[in-house]
């Protein structure tokens, strides 16, 4: 251990932390150390240059100041070659001379026997099994869970929050291997074709259904039918579809029917040889005679009260003077009565042509847009109302009918 004493003393001297006694002791040891050249042993460690001499001697002795202490510790502790690990721990792994010194101090490394506790085959099997199981499987979720990360849903939410108004979540999820699902498409696929005709019919009586579609129900019944329909919001859409179908059906029927001339087939059955020519027929004269014979008879009010509950004042018709018939002629009165009766039937079946006259203003009458002249481009309404759109058709106007006060 004398060599270690010399090294220890040289370190203290080099640091200037020595006493005269220690300097004398170091000088004595150096003079006896055969690792140093003989001509040098008697000249070193003088009082003037003790620190410089100590550094030079340490270099010549090729010793690490820590080697002796570490080696002693290792030797005292285990007796196995842990030099590399120890040196790595103290940051000296890159200094081979130190490592060699440690090994020298530690002495020979004894052979260590592996304990036969059966762990090795278990470990090998476990490693192999884990590698086999992991092959081809996405263990990212498990890994994320193991390291405390949340699910991809929360990751997406966090990404959205960071991205602000720009939704980059789908792109990010795609990039990390999560394919976004088109929820709407999936729902439609699952729903398939749903027949809601039956629920519509259950909700509304068939008679009401026809009436509400045609806008012909009285106000109270219309409201009741609307309330029944409002119990299921989907039914409103169905009604609209029905209305569209009805309109298209009417258009097609009209296109197919075109103008049908039944007179050509009826006339021969009445004994008229040429339907286009009736001997003695004079339309204007007939109308004039009819008006003359009709005199003050006014069926308009009665008819209107019957079909529309609206009283209309007599139409301002100029009645020409009789020109071709005597006022008291029974024969002449017959066609007039027939025409009056026919006109009454006509009014009852197709409604009285509008001739309102109780006006408060003589402004121009409204001209309504026909079906091709008006289009609803957008429509929205409050939850507690129901809106019916009665499309323009023929000379009938477009009507947007708002039913208020419908409580869901």
């Amino acid at each position: 251990m004398m060599r270690d004493d010399l090294t220890h003393l040289l370190v203290r001297i080099e640091r200037g932390e020595y006493t005269p006694v220690e300097l004398e002791r170091a000088r004595t040891l150096a003079q006896q150390d055969d690792r140093l050249p003989e001509e040098l042993r008697m000249e070193v460690l003088t009082d003037e240059d003790a620190q410089a001499d100590a550094g030079a001697l340490l270099s010549l002795l090729d010793a690490d100041p820590f080697a002796g202490l570490v080696g002693q510790a290792v030797f005292d502790g285990a007796g196995i070659d842990v030099a590399d690990a120890v040196l790595a721990a103290i940051g000296s792994a890159e200094r081979p001379p130190v490592a060699d010194a440690v090994r020298e101090e530690a002495g020979p490394v004894p052979d260590m026997e592996v304990p036969d506790d059966g762990w090795l085959p278990i470990a090998e099997s476990l490693t192999h099994g884990l590698r086999e199981a992991a092959l081809g499987f996405d263990i990212s979720e498990a890994v994320l869970a193991a390291v405390g990360a949340e699910s991809q849903v929360l990751v997406a939410q966090a990404v959205r929050e960071l991205a602000g108004d720009i939704d980059v979540a789908p792109a990010v999820l795609t990039a990390v291997g999560h394919v976004p699902v088109d929820v709407a498409a999936a729902v439609r696929s699952e729903a398939g074709v749903v027949d809601i005709v039956q629920p519509v019919m259950e909700a509304v009586e068939p008679a009401w259904l026809c009436g509400i579609l045609d806008g012909q129900l009285p106000a109270e019944q219309h409201r009741e039918a609307a309330q029944a329909l409002m119990r299921d919001g989907k039914l409103g859409l169905t009604m609209t579809e029905f209305a569209d179908i009805g309109q298209k059906l009417r258009e097609v029927l009209r296109a197919e029917a075109s103008s049908v001339d039944v007179w050509a087939s009826v006339a021969p059955q009445l004994g008229i040889a040429d339907p286009e020519e009736v001997v003695g027929w004079d339309g204007p004269a007939f109308a004039s005679a009819l008006r003359t014979q009709a005199g003050p008879v006014d069926v308009a009010d009665a008819v209107m009260l019957r079909v529309q509950q609206v009283s209309v004042a007599p139409a301002p018709v100029d009645v020409p003077k009789p020109a071709n018939a005597t006022p008291n002629s029974w024969r002449s009165a017959v066609p007039a009565l027939v025409m009056i009766a026919a006109a009454a039937v006509l009014f009852m079946m197709v409604g009285l042509p509008t001739t309102p006259s109780q006006g408060t203003d003589n402004g121009p009458a409204l001209q309504f847009a026909s079906g091709s002249e008006v289009t609803i481009e957008e429509l929205s309404y409050a939850d507690d109302v129901i809106v019916h759109v009665i499309p323009a058709e023929g000379d009938a106007p477009l009507i947007v009918w708002v039913d208020e006060g419908v409580t869901l």
């Binding site: 009283s311 026919a342 006259s357 203003d361 402004g363 409204l366 002249e373 929205s380 106007p397």
Partner: protein, 160 residues
């Protein structure tokens, strides 16, 4: 007698095909534009009260009455006729009976059609919002708000 019989048959024939007769109504004359489209559109709203208080009908409702027959009201009174000249993007606000407002915006217009956005509010709450494209000088109907045991009917026209 033969003449009378002919008239009756002709009338009955027309009755049997009343619907077809409706379809054969000749189209209305379309206003001829001189090529220059007016910047201003006169948006008119006629407010009509359909009721059962009496049986009087305003003469200006000629042509409309038969289409409101299903409502079973006996009287039709024009409460007011409001008119305002609008340019594209401008809006007219009309106070209507029953704490209601009718907002009519002229979205845009060209030589043949005008686009009108109609919003109806009751006590400040919007109950209807619709945009309608209608031919110039033609009318359409928005109706339904309850008023004085009847309903209100708005006949809306874009004149230019």
């Amino acid at each position: 007698m033969k003449t009378a019989l002919f008239a009756l048959v002709a009338l009955m024939a027309s009755l049997s095909f009343g619907a077809l007769a409706t379809a054969q109504v000749p189209p209305r004359p379309v206003p001829v534009s001189d090529g220059a489209v007016s910047r201003d559109v006169d948006v008119q709203v006629m407010i009509v009260h359909a009721h059962n208080s009496d049986t009087r009908v305003d003469s200006r409702l000629e042509g409309l009455l038969q289409h409101l027959r299903h409502m079973r009201y006996t009287g039709y009174t024009v409460l007011d006729t409001k008119s305002e000249s609008l340019t594209d993007g401008n809006e007219a606000n009309y106070d209507v009976q029953g704490d209601r407002q009718l907002k009519v915006e002229l979205v845009d217009h060209d030589g043949s059609n005008a686009r009108l956005r109609i919003r109806m509010l009751t006590n400040g709450r919007k109950v209807l919002d619709t945009t309608v494209s209608v031919r110039r000088d033609r009318s359409f109907i928005v109706m339904g708000p309850q008023h004085d045991e009847g309903v209100l009917v708005f006949a809306i026209t874009a004149n230019y």
